[in-house]
Amino acid sequence: MFNEKRIAMKKKLLLLLPLLIFAVLASFFVVGLDRNPREIPSPLVGKPLPEFSLPTLDAPEQIVTKERFAGQVWLLNVWASWCVSCRSEHPLLLEYAKTNETPIIGLNYKDKMPDAKAWLQRYGNPYEMSIVDADGRFGIDLGVYGVPETFLIGKNGIISYKHIGPITEESLRNIIIPKIKELKQQ
């Protein structure tokens, strides 16, 4: 008798499960509705950019290391052709690239070369060059959560800012550009 009751109880709980799952989902939606890309502190900010030696998209036989960019302020933008939100930040990058303020270097992350090239051809190429991180190993060193992410690197090769998610007009105007100006004056 007691056992039967327990089984019935279990069954009732099991049938409640879909409702509970939905409740969790719905609460995420509520929070998600008025969300904007947020900054989170990264352990790498204030530290030197990790070492890398990787090929570039245009010249796969050519290997680039971080010394190539020493002495300038530059942006490292992690992107991939499979990344949907990259498409939303892309026009901003294109526009910013036109000002020639700072070079934007792409980090093509876990992508296939032909796809990546086709993507740039289709949406335009804001990058001075794109470094290819096909297996995502450099991405691990960089602590890439996902794509897109953007790193701002100073003349001394130290990461001064990390932006997670697509760049928006506000974040570019209010955070990234002022920081670039600041870094350039150092």
Partner: protein
């Protein structure tokens, strides 16, 4: 004047829908026949006013009435007539109106084709659909009025998004929405069954054809969407695991599970609770898809409109519909669940596992789609999950599913002795293994990785085909007479299963060959250049300007060559639409049974020689993807044409109930 009539029609439809959603439900609960009888008439009334409203919107688009905001922002005097009509569902407001319109259409269809159902059931089903209709109409009228006026009236409208100016995009949304909304019928039947506490084989038989129709529409809708992405986005992909694509795949997966589970419920009287849950989930996911696309919660290429207020409204609506039905499920489902018995090795088990796998596949896709949202909500940043994740989790689940698909088609109901099953599966297994390993080697692949992937794909396809052959011979063995006579004796529902599964095999062959043998070249070409891809070559003849109705185009001419002989000319275009200033790529495709030759224009290269960057693809067997989807749909149509449905449709309800109801569960 016309837009006001449309608006007024929407308000009347809302009032009627509120009546449809309340009185019949109360009537069914209290046993008031007059109130129950209201359901059919009100459903038809709602549909009448929705036709009127939708007609008014289309009319405003046809006559270029730019005093309507919706028309002014999505149409243009230069836009050709057929795209002006299509533009009426190209915008957010219009597409929601179409959603409601189709809900009205389905409700009306239920009211017409339900003469054999007990009045109580009809009242409940239409009542539930009426509530959903009312909710969406409120959403339409309060947050996205398609008839909103604009003053001062502009002399010219903005244009329809160039991406949507395409025959595929004209057909895609109506088909997809017919599928999405069609699941509302199965949903309403499930909720009605929970409310009435009666859930039996008859219930499953009533829901089945509706679910199958919706599933067919959804399959075609997804196929057209994929086909559109393939030729319109200009880089030869056919599925991007984009949130919006996933949103249409989710209800399809659950809908597929539902079709199978309904079959078990009807034939064997088991899986009832599970079937009801699937019916609720299929429609919930359809609503969720709409929410994800329309609220801007996830960024996507397809999300044309984003407005948090709308998102909030849809979210509340979702909470009420999904939360309400799941709560009802949690409290009422225990009453309906007497499960029939079956042995471990049986068709029931195979179908149960198939259901679980489909649900798991749906769960992983849902997780991948929403994962960025979860991270964002937990303040971990915005990211996007790409094809690497989906391919890694989706393919293994599908492989398991395919294995079961072969077994399930052959296993017997209730109990299938292992020895007998093995006897039947031996030959297919042997053929599958031999072919799967031999074929990649014959086709000249030697690297173990590509051999393994091809073998997996071919193996799945051969497994389905060989087991399907066995399923036919198995059925014919006991019959006397000629082959054709014996084949004709099989019910159409069997052929429905057969063709749908065969379609899956064809689809898998398509995917396997495309993935394994596609070739692409991305090159700079000067007029006169020849580039070869696969067995074919393309000669770039030149570029000329062409004037379209609302765009300029640079039209390239390419000669497609095979063995140095010209096959035909191809004309890819790069279009610049006046109103948007947005360049669009129109690929030129030479399509054939064994594959496509595909060329699209990149950018002009300013070297004075008229060079262009050009992409050419050879896509072997890609047409088999669409062919597979069409076969699956054909399977659905065959199942619908089965004699049983036609016979039962004519029989009066009482006779049906007497003959086929399983004992009512004890309360």
């Amino acid at each position: 004047m016309i837009p006001e009539i449309g608006q007024f029609a929407l308000i009347l439809a809302l009032i009627l829908a509120l009546v449809q959603g309340t009185l019949p439900l109360v009537g069914a609960a209290q046993g008031i026949p007059v109130w129950m009888f209201l359901s059919r008439r009100t459903a038809q009334g709602v549909f009448f006013f929705l036709i009127l409203a939708f007609g008014c919107l289309i009319y405003s688009f046809i006559v270029n009435d730019f005093s309507v905001l919706n028309v002014a922002s999505n149409s243009n005097t230069q836009l050709p007539l057929h795209y002006r009509i299509a533009a009426s569902w190209g915008s957010h407001e219009g597409s929601i109106l179409m959603w409601v319109f189709m809900l009205g259409l389905w409700s009306c269809a239920v009211s017409v084709f339900s003469r054999h159902l007990p009045e109580e059931v009809v009242a409940r089903v239409l009542g539930v659909m009426g509530l959903v209709t009312a909710g969406l109409l409120l959403f339409l009228l309060f947050t996205s009025n398609p008839f909103e006026r604009l003053f001062p009236v502009p002399t010219e409208g903005r244009d329809l998004n160039p991406l949507l100016q395409d025959p595929g995009m004209v057909l895609h949304p109506p088909m997809l929405y017919m599928g999405y909304v069609g699941f509302s019928v199965a949903f309403a039947f499930a909720v009605a069954a929970l409310l009435g506490g009666r859930l039996d084989a008859t219930w499953a038989r009533w829901s089945r054809p509706w679910t199958t129709v919706a599933w067919c529409f959804l399959t075609v809708g997804i196929m057209i969407g994929s086909w559109w992405a393939y030729y319109e986005l200009g880089w030869g992909g056919w599925w991007f695991w984009d949130p919006v694509e996933n949103a249409s795949l989710l209800p399809w997966l659950i809908g597929t599970a539902l079709i199978h589970s309904l079959a078990v419920t009807e034939k064997r009287g088991t899986f009832k609770i599970w079937t009801v849950l699937l019916a609720i989930c299929a429609f919930s996911l359809s609503l969720l898809g709409t929410f994800l696309v329309r609220s801007g919660v996830l960024t996507s290429v397809h999300a044309f409109t984003t407005d948090p207020r709308r998102g909030l409204f849809i979210l509340v609506f979702l909470g009420l519909v999904i939360g309400g039905s799941l709560a009802l499920f949690a409290f009422r489902a225990p009453r309906v669940g007497t499960q029939g018995k079956f042995e471990f090795i049986s068709r029931e088990t195979a179908l149960l596992c198939n259901n679980i796998l489909l649900a798991v596949a749906c769960g992983t896709v849902l997780l991948g789609t929403l994962y960025p949202l979860f991270l964002d909500a937990l303040n971990l940043g915005k990211i996007s999950v790409g094809p690497p994740y989906f391919e890694a989790v989706f393919v293994p689940i599908m492989a398991l599913l395919i294995v079961l698909m072969g077994i399930g088609a052959i296993a017997r109901w209730k109990e299938s002795p292992l020895a007998e099953l093995w006897e039947k599966l031996r030959a297919p297994l042997a053929v599958t293994v031999v072919c799967a390993v031999a074929l990649p080697l014959i086709l000249g692949r030697t690297h173990w990785q590509s051999v393994a992937l091809l073998a997996l794909g071919f193996g799945m396809a051969f497994w389905i085909i060989t087991t399907l052959i066995v399923s036919v011979t198995d059925r014919l063995r006991h019959l006397q007479g000629g082959l054709w006579y014996k084949l004709q004796r099989q019910p159409l529902s069997f052929w429905g299963m057969w063709f749908a599964h065969f379609g899956v095999a064809i689809f898998i062959i398509g995917v396997t060959v495309v993935k394994g043998f596609e070739a692409e070249r991305d090159v700079r070409m000067t007029p006169g250049d020849v580039i070869s891809v696969g067995d074919y070559a393309f000669r770039f003849v030149g570029i000329e300007d062409r004037q379209g109705p609302n765009y300029h185009a640079a039209r390239g001419t390419f000669e497609l060559l095979k063995d140095d002989k010209k096959v035909r000319n191809l004309y890819p275009e790069k279009r610049m639409y006046f109103a948007h200033g947005m360049p669009m790529t129109e690929a030129a495709i030479d399509s054939g049974f064994f594959g496509d030759r595909y060329v699209s224009l990149g950018e002009e290269i300013n070297d004075g020689k008229g060079s262009w960057s050009v992409r050419v693809y050879y896509k072997p067997f890609i047409t088999w993807l669409w062919g597979g989807c069409i076969l699956m749909t054909l399977g659905g149509v065959l199942a619908l044409s089965d004699r049983r449905y036609r016979v039962y449709a004519r029989k009066p309800a009482k006779e049906l109930l007497a003959g086929h109801t399983l004992p009512r569960p004890a309360h």
